[in-house]
């Protein structure tokens, strides 16, 4: 029968690409339904376009951005080169309560946000997995590090992750390719912090899904520094660069762009889903696709939106929502706290090559001792760099000498630390269907109700303090602190809304990302998260997806699905 497959994957981003790869490699005829357009690296990737080739020299087409992408352009990567990888906000509306903004950053195309993601990849530890249970917050994760470790290894080996082995219990090492070296200023900073903070605050190399050596047919990074615009040498991990080609190679993949999934079709007789309803992105016609197995990987909020839009007589508040938790416990991270300072050293050293990301300071709060003001912790992303001619915009002076110094000198090394902290899961942060709002395809849109709590704001205060302390310890001058008032969502680590748990009465998914109420539906993107830890989440979605596919395929073989 036409339109019938073994498995449906909704979404082709980080999670959907992995679901497609694993399902097809297990021999399942799989269709990937992607809401957006196809991407051709040869024409869509613009990593080597130079500033002078753009009308506004990279400053962005401001009028267009303000009109069509007022939310998307809050994200720095939505720039003059890469704004085409972000959605049109007018076509993709959602509502928020008055005075409670949420910045929902989305990419709808084959590859999803994996084209312009940040590429920082970290494992969790049991410090993270046990936190909810120990602190009596939300519900316990149905997982521990030991459950996840082999799956992180599985995905890391394919992804290609550069990193430095540090032996930290709370930020476990992975399957690392050799990292790029730190630059002279960062290396000195690492040495100073090790002395002054007894190793508690550590500068290590960023763990990054960018390959430093040729890896599985992909070329090593060429250090252009423009990852968010695509990569013609496929050197960073994305669905387009990695998982979708692997899935295609099996001969089991059907990829259908312009396929906006409306809802899941539920059969009360079998208590199984039979397929999905899809709106053709171009013709707006609705059609159905059938399969035995459905993986929702449309992004945290989109996957839950599909479930909420799939309400039936049996599930009036959304498919799989017996627990009442579907849509709830929305999280992001909190960022925008930190400091920048001018370093006193390495004036006779410079960098050659533009690393996409540089250094990381792993969490040090509430690891060994308890902080009096807040629970959980945060890490710092950072780098040291010399500003070059950029400093001319804010330096004093003009004239020939000014010009010569901008060309012939680089300015002093600047070190910055930008905190990324954990956000607690709270029932009152939720998404629901806005009964008065539909998107350009006629599909009911979301209402997003989310705010940071005191715990996150106190954590952000602490980021400013500890970043300054580290810079002071280095003897930095001109220390400039920053504390931004960002709406949640802008970190683009939105997670939760269909949490995993041990009890169907209090969670939506079981320990294998399987919907308790509808066992042939799996949700393996950010929707599944029970807490967020402070680490960047994508590699965890990848590992959970691969793990869930193995489980689902096993159940199918045993005729349990």
């Amino acid at each position: 029968m036409a339109n019938t497959y073994d498995a449906i994957v909704v979404g082709s981003g980080i999670s959907g690409g992995w679901a497609a790869k694993e399902l097809t490699e297990h021999g399942l005829k799989t269709i990937v339904l992607e809401a957006g357009r196809p991407i051709d690296p040869a024409t869509d990737y613009v990593d080597h376009v130079m500033t002078f080739e753009k009308r506004y020299r990279g400053m962005g087409n401001r009028n267009q951005l303000e009109r069509y992408q007022p939310i998307q352009s809050q994200c720095g990567a939505c720039d003059e080169y890469a704004s085409k990888f972000f959605v049109n906000d007018l076509d993709n509306p959602y509502s928020t309560p008055e005075g409670k903004p949420f910045s929902w950053i989305r990419g709808r195309q084959v590859g999803g946000k994996s084209i312009m993601w940040g590429r920082c990849v970290f494992r969790w530890s049991d410090l993270d997995y046990e936190a909810n249970a120990k602190e009596g917050i939300a519900v316990d994760w149905p997982l521990r590090y030991a459950d996840m470790a082999p799956w992180w290894s599985h995905v890391e080996k394919f992804v290609g992750v550069q990193g430095r082995h540090e032996g930290l219990a709370h930020l476990p090492d992975g399957e690392f390719l050799k990292p790029w070296p730190m630059n002279a200023a960062e290396q000195k900073g690492r040495e100073v912090l090790q002395t002054k903070f007894n190793g508690e605050r550590l500068i290590t190399n960023m763990r990054l899904a960018v390959i430093t050596e040729d890896h599985l047919g992909r070329q090593k990074c060429h250090l252009c520094g423009n990852c968010h615009r695509g990569c013609i040498t496929l050197s960073y991990f994305s669905s387009i660069n990695s998982t979708l080609p692997a899935a295609k190679k099996t001969g089991n993949l059907t990829l259908r762009p312009f396929s906006v999934v409306h809802s899941v079709i539920y059969d009360p007789a079998t208590k199984r889903a039979t397929g999905v309803r899809v709106v053709d992105g171009n013709t707006r016609e609705m059609f159905e696709v059938k399969a035995r197995l459905i993986f929702l990987c449309a992004s945290a909020l989109e996957s839950t939106r599909i479930m909420l839009n799939s309400a039936t007589a049996e599930f009036p508040d959304g498919l799989g929502n017996t627990s009442g938790e579907l849509g709830h416990n929305l999280m992001d991270h909190i960022m925008g706290g930190g400091a920048t300072g001018t370093l006193p050293w390495a004036k006779d050293r410079r960098e050659v090559g533009r690393r996409p990301d540089a250094i990381y300071v792993p969490r040090f709060r509430n690891v060994k001792t308890k902080h009096p003001d807040f629970q959980r912790g945060y890490g710092f992303e950072g780098r040291a760099s010399r500003p070059g001619w950029d400093r001319g915009a804010y330096a004093n002076g003009f004239g020939a000498g000014f010009k010569k110094s901008l060309i012939g000198d680089l300015g002093p090394w600047e070190m910055s630390f930008d905190g990324f902290g954990e956000m607690l899961p709270r029932h009152e942060n939720y998404i629901s269907i806005d009964k008065h709002l539909v998107d350009a395809w006629g599909i009911p849109a979301l209402h997003v109700n989310c705010s940071y709590s005191e715990n996150e704001l106190k954590m952000q205060n602490d980021m400013v303090v500890t970043a300054s302390e580290m810079l002071e310890a280095m003897g930095a001058t001109d220390i400039r602190t920053f504390k931004e008032n960002n709406a949640p969502g802008l970190v683009i680590h939105e997670t939760g809304t269909a949490r995993m748990g041990r009890d169907p009465k209090t969670s939506v998914l079981n320990s294998h990302n399987q919907v308790w109420d509808v066992p042939n539906v799996f949700m393996t993107d950010g929707a599944c998260m029970t807490s967020t830890a402070n680490q960047n989440p994508s590699i965890t979605y990848m590992a959970l997806t691969a793990r869930a596919v193995a489980y689902a395929v096993g159940q199918m073989k045993r005729r349990e699905l």
Partner: protein, 183 residues
Amino acid sequence: MRRREVVQFLGAALALPFIPRNAETAIQLGERVHRRLADVPFRTLGPAQRQLVTTIAEMIIPETDTPGATTVKVPEFIDLILTEWASDEERTAFLAGLADIDARAATLGSARFVELAPAKKTELLTDLDTRREDKAGAGLAFSRLKALTVYGYFTSKPVQQDVLHTLMYFNGYDGNVPFTPQV
């Protein structure tokens, strides 16, 4: 110092730009270029404003052994940004700031900045360089003009390719390369 070296030294010094003179020269050069490239008309800056912007941009980044702001069409870039990128409020504030620069020139003895004696021009810009945090007027206009001049200059094709020799890719990363400033 041997005579030959002295001549070379002086020669080098003389080759360095005398800023105001160079700005005037650059304006003339710029106008010739503009006449040739009539397809890039100025749409926001009128003739007098354009002369003012060009003069100041060239004073910020003058022609030396490398091109100056005028040669790489910084004034055209600034006009583009004012026309298509800036908000109405930003454009209005910038143009009012330009008028304020001329008003300040009047206190130094000339109705327009471009007509000031070279030393007076430098004196006024030196003062404005301390007023870049001003929320309105000449300080604001100079702050925007300076930022756009630096950005427009260093992102231009001639400067990216022939002055900075910007590379788009590298065979590896080295963060510990010896460096001696050339200033």
